[in-house]
């Protein structure tokens, strides 16, 4: 009984070792991470231009080696002035969406991300035009537009890149192509600039964002590496191999059929 038990254990260990060896050949361990990022170009721009303060941060959670869900939130305080008007906009925004890593697991290794993000954005902002002038045939007309709060909706495609440059610390950038869905301001008083979207006079907008990201690994998975199927160059050898396979693997009747064919 004892010998049988020991034999069973040995057999189990042997099988397990074989299984691990098979897995080691086809998969790669990838750490799934919670990423906490901060957009850095906003504060950098504010350093040189005190009229635009844009602060944005995000949290992203890896679902697997390819996909992650993200949630971003930010704040904008925008002041603009030129010879014929001045404009103020202040508010906050959120973005929610999903990021797809287009790198293969053996390239990304859980450290590199080159992919595309799809997001929906919602913005709540208060805008005001303290003055605007219009000069025409009759003279100059000056007026103002009172403060008003609106909600803006937009969608975003965001291709980009991130690289882990130190342990659990990444940097990267993304290009954001945004499409305006609704601003709630009407077609005459579109927002000059609003949080999360940018130039509200345009239906489609583009922007660049630069991120520093802190990565918190929370789980390790084995991502499957798809091996490339080697191309078989010699058709004859292929045919022969198939023939050999069919001869060895097929039934007697099939073998007879094969021999009957001219």
């Amino acid at each position: 009984m004892g010998r049988t038990y020991a034999y069973s254990i040995s057999l189990l260990l042997l099988l397990t070792c074989n299984l691990i060896q098979v897995q080691a050949q086809d998969t790669i361990p990838i750490p799934l991470k919670i990423k906490v990022g901060m957009e850095v170009s906003g504060p950098a721009i504010y350093y040189s231009d005190k009229n635009i303060l844009n602060a944005e941060g995000y949290i992203s959670v890896d679902l697997d080696e390819k996909k992650s869900v993200m949630f971003a939130a930010g704040y904008l305080n925008y002041k603009y002035s030129q010879y014929n008007y001045s404009y103020l906009n202040r508010g906050s925004f959120i973005r929610i969406g999903i990021d797809f890593n287009l790198l293969k697991p053996d390239k990304s290794l859980g450290k590199y991300w080159a992919g595309i993000g799809l997001r929906y954005g919602l913005s709540r902002f208060t805008s005001q035009v303290p003055f605007y002038d219009k000069e025409d045939y009759w003279g100059t007309t000056s007026s103002s537009i009172a403060q008003k709060t609106n909600w803006g909706h937009f969608v975003e495609i965001s291709p980009g890149f991130r690289a882990e440059i130190f342990r659990n610390f990444s940097i990267g950038w993304s290009v954001s192509l945004r499409m305006l869905l609704y601003t709630g301001t009407g077609k005459d008083l579109k927002p000059v600039y609003f949080p999360g979207f940018g130039d509200g006079t345009k239906t489609v907008n583009a922007g660049l964002s630069y991120f520093i990201v802190w990565n918190i690994p929370y789980k390790k998975i084995n991502a499957i590496i798809k091996k490339e199927v080697p191309e078989e160059s010699d058709d004859k050898s292929d045919t022969n191999a198939n023939a050999t396979k069919s001869n060895t693997g097929t039934s007697g009747s099939q073998q007879q059929g094969g021999s009957i064919r001219p």
Partner: protein
């Protein structure tokens, strides 16, 4: 791995170059004036045909500046409405015959673009009011006056 990192740095640097290129200021290229556009028609028997007056003079009442001064070949005249008032009166001289034309309207701001700023659009509240000296008839085709090209009124003379 070591081969991969320099590639990633190149991509990040290219992002910064894109950022620098994106910081070019814009200029105002759009139309900023919203004129009331009037087409001129003559009546030959029962037929009304689009025809520019031989000469056209136009100016705002009590204004020194003349918009058109005995100008020939004006098929569409552009009337600048006063955004500070709810009506504008113009003196119009068609082929040497003087008339006045009053427009009553409401004005509202419209953002053209970030670069150009705001202009005023107008909405005609009533039919235009001529004195019917040079003008035989008048007809409104579009009450909304914007920066876009499009006829607002037809003047029959």
């Amino acid at each position: 791995m070591r081969r991969f990192i320099p590639g990633s740095l190149i991509i990040i640097l290219s992002g910064f170059i894109l950022f620098l290129l994106s910081c070019t200021p814009g200029s105002c290229f759009e139309e900023t004036e919203s004129y009331l556009k009037a087409s001129f028609y003559t009546e030959v028997g029962t037929t009304k045909m689009l025809q520019a007056p031989d000469t056209l003079t136009l100016y705002g009442l009590n204004q020194d500046s003349i918009i058109y001064n005995k100008k020939t070949g004006v098929q569409v005249a552009l009337f600048p409405l006063n955004a500070s008032a709810e009506s504008s009166i113009f003196v119009i001289i068609i082929n040497g015959v003087t008339d006045t034309l009053e427009f009553r309207y409401s004005s509202y701001p419209h953002l053209i673009s970030k670069e150009c700023g705001y202009t005023f659009y107008h909405h005609l509240d009533t039919e235009p009011l001529p004195k019917y000296h040079a003008i035989k008839d008048i007809y409104t085709t579009n009450k909304t006056i914007t920066t876009l090209n499009g006829e607002n009124i037809r003047i029959f003379y």
